[in-house]
Amino acid sequence: MRNETKPHAQKNNLRNQFLLDWSLRFYVILIFVFVFAPIVFSVIFSFNSARFPTIPLESFTLKWYETIWADPDVWEAFRNSIIVSVSTALIATTLGFCTAYTDYRYRFRFKSAYLALVLLPPTIPLIIMALAMLAWFSKIGASGQLWSVIIAHSVLTAPFAMAIIRLRLNQMNKDLESAAWNLGASEWRAMREVVFPFCKPAILSALFLTAAVSFDEFAIAWFVSGLNKTVPVLILEIVQGNIDPQVNAIGTIVFLVSMTLVMIAQVFFFLRQNRTSN
């Protein structure tokens, strides 16, 4: 490219470029190894018979899965977690949809304050939200309930739902809704038959993502849930005791659940883009 480079210098340059490119690629792989090592490790050692997980591996076993299968506390925690994450997903996505539509269609005074109110919760450290929620819920006499966790998680996850649905609305032609009004549809009917169907993939994506976030959240759940432990709270309490390989087994199941949820959420999110480009 450069004007006055000599042939051999150019060759040197190319070789350096080649080396640089490949060491960068190798570096990216190292980062991925670091990010996914703990996940892979947990899965492998959930099938390892040694009490203390180290290498070399001992024999293959399902012992830890049998232990947790027989443990009523684990069942209880999974039941609680499912109730919490399903309810949270429904509430947060509903709130997120309302907000996204408002932001898409309306301009009004104090709109930036409105948006700040909606979008700020995820930027506040969870431990602070946990303390604030604990104090507030005991003040209004609602602490230690499963639905206190649900309410807190909805506050936390609604912004994610709002963002996903808002991005989808960005791709909707404004005239689509006007066309429906012109053809005699009321605003409610246009919403039901035009806007809502258009947003469906994003709504599904938001449902799965908010469920995943709620399923994994432990700080607020730990402070607010009282005796109704969710899975992450149970893990937190087991881990405080000692190293127990059954955590790897529970952890593997948790990974499986939340990774599936996040991947489904992403697939719906990307599906949307592809369909629009067609």
Binding site: D21, F52, Y101, S154, I243
Partner: protein, 297 residues
């Protein structure tokens, strides 16, 4: 209402601006009510709580500065504060540096398909059980853990990695690195390639073009990524507790200790308010830096 093309203005059914628009309000109000009750309410109450009194293990509503003066006069509070601040700053610097080459490669050196897949994969861990990943690190980094066993086969170690700052930072990286790479990659991908190519054509070396062209152009995104990293590290209690040994405790651990064992909610609220003020200050400073227009040279 938004301006539409002239045709639609003549239609009878066009929604008009009303004093009381029930349709508009039914989309606007739910989140206002919800966040006021369960987001603003708790936060304001927490600030108020920092002035309450505790007598005979019961909280009394009051307006006293006892908790503030108690906390501010304790050395352990300031030790915690500076430790937490230092660790979060270190974490931000390390994560930004570690992430940059990877983000650079993902933005400039791979095909769009590879980039999409890489981002797809990196978003997964951000939403995936942080707690279990930290437990995993706990076992990997232990004295007789997997990493030391691996190093032993090379005749190295054993190293003490748990209950050290190194351990804490590994935990922080687990939490923040995927997010920082994702945000940096977005920032770098949005740069106009022609500008980079122009610098190259004008004889700018690759390293100089990173410093003089790419980083200034991606400044906002890079700073926002660093800001998120700082906020996450500053507020995390799991890594410093399980991997760092919590001696001395960081501020989030202090909140847990004073809340769970001491029943001293008002003092925990003091810590929380101090954290909030710190984070708000940092956030404004970072955003001012991020959006400052560069002085022309």
């Amino acid at each position: 209402m938004t301006s539409r093309d002239p045709l639609t203005h003549q239609v009878a059914n066009k929604p008009t601006r009303k004093l009381f628009d029930s349709f508009a309000l039914s989309w606007r109000l739910p989140i206002i009510v919800w966040q006021t009750l369960f987001f603003l309410g708790p936060l304001i109450f927490m600030v108020a709580m920092s002035f309450f009194l505790v007598k005979n293990y019961r909280m009394q509503e009051a307006f006293e500065f006892v908790n503030w003066s108690k906390m501010f006069s304790r050395n352990y509070f300031w030790d915690s504060y500076f430790l937490t601040f230092t660790l979060a700053t270190l974490s931000t610097a390390i994560a930004s540096l570690l992430a940059f080459p990877a983000s650079f490669a993902l933005a400039f050196k791979v095909s769009p398909a590879v980039r999409r897949w890489a981002l797809f994969l990196l978003i997964i861990p951000f939403f995936t059980s942080y707690l279990v990943r930290i437990f995993s690190w706990y076992v990997i980094l232990a004295e007789s853990g997997a990493l030391n066993a691996l190093l032993d086969t090379f005749g190295l170690g054993p190293y003490t990695m748990l209950n050290t700052k190194f351990g804490t930072l590994v935990g922080y990286m687990t939490l923040t690195l995927p997010l920082v790479v994702v945000l940096q990659t977005f920032a770098l991908s949005n740069i106009d390639r022609n500008l980079v190519q122009a610098a190259h054509n004008l004889g700018c070396s690759p390293f100089r073009s990173i410093y003089a062209v790419i980083m200034p152009l991606a400044k906002t995104g890079l700073i926002v990524a660093a800001l998120f990293c700082f906020i996450l590290s500053f507020g995390d209690f799991v890594s410093p507790y399980y991997l760092g040994g919590s001696k001395p405790p960081t501020l989030p651990i202090l909140i847990i200790d004073t809340t769970k064992s001491g029943q001293q909610w008002p003092r925990a609220a003091v810590v929380a308010v101090v954290m909030m003020v710190t984070l708000i200050t940092i956030a404004f400073a970072a955003l001012a830096l991020a959006y400052r227009t560069r002085a022309s040279r």
